[in-house]
């Protein structure tokens, strides 16, 4: 995407190296793993569960499971670390969703795992940023985003509803998403 700040990749070193360092008992490697993947795992959990509090707890559970497996050398192909983290997250999230569906009144015992306060603060800061951005948007832009992102209408449908051209709707929506994405990138670089 032209014009966007260049951001460091989520993984700060080759996956194989990180997995091997954890297997060798290097505690700083475990911290590197969490730093590299925690935000992404949180976004995945929120997308799948749609509950930020439960997602925050599940992130902790994912890293406990990943680290246990890596310490035991259960990752056979160390260059597949990212896929391993994603697979572990997906399985634990699915377990959580099944348990929630089977026992709507039961709370899962996830309280034992404390969440990362820094990650939590950054997440809240990103929410505040989006709120501020929304306040500055025109009413039409807010309608475009609501109809598109929340109601799930296509750009063509949004254009018809608001009596705008398809290109205008696409450009206005894209501008807002790009602006917030850039600001998120700057925040994650700090």
């Amino acid at each position: 995407m032209p014009g966007e700040p260049i951001v460091a990749p989520a993984t700060i070193q080759p996956e194989g190296t990180l997995a091997q360092r954890i297997l060798a008992g290097d505690p700083s490697a475990e911290e590197d793993l969490v730093n590299a993947y925690s935000r992404g795992v949180f976004v995945i959990a929120v997308a799948r569960i749609r509950d930020r509090d439960a997602a925050r707890d599940l992130v902790q559970e994912v890293f406990i499971a990943v680290l246990k497996a890596l310490r035991k050398g259960q990752l056979r192909e160390s260059d597949k670390l990212t896929a391993f983290v994603q697979g572990t997250a997906r399985n634990l999230i699915n377990n959580y969703l099944r348990a929630r569906a089977n026992c709507a009144e039961c709370e899962l015992d996830l309280e034992a795992y404390g969440s990362d306060p820094v990650e939590e603060l950054e997440s809240l800061e990103r929410q505040r940023l989006v709120r501020r951005e929304l306040e500055t948007l025109s009413f039409t832009d807010q309608q475009i985003l609501l109809l598109s992102l929340v109601d799930g209408h296509s750009l063509t449908e949004v254009a018809q509803k608001l009596n705008l051209s398809h290109d205008a709707v696409r450009a206005r929506k894209s501008r807002v998403v790009r602006k917030i994405t850039k600001k998120f990138a700057r925040m994650s670089q700090k």
């Binding site: 976004v43 807010q142 992102l149 929340v150 998403v177 850039k182």
Partner: protein, 63 residues
């Protein structure tokens, strides 16, 4: 999965709407764990959607 494909194909939006098949969803998630730019984009859309959902009545009632 290429970044270009993500942007052109609106995969991020389909992902957040739960409209991807399981294999594509897995590939997409592996990609955003490795690509900070795409992660920022997905999180921006995710947070926007949450905040807009909170304001749904306000926005609709103004129209």
């Amino acid at each position: 999965m290429e970044c270009q494909e993500l942007h052109q194909g609106e995969l991020a939006e389909k992902y957040l709407n739960g409209q991807l098949d399981p294999a594509t969803q897995d590939d997409f998630e592996v990609h955003i764990l490795e690509c900070a730019r795409c992660l920022n984009r997905v999180e921006a859309m995710q947070t926007l959607r949450e905040e807009l959902s909170r304001r749904t009545h306000q926005i609709r009632n103004t129209s």
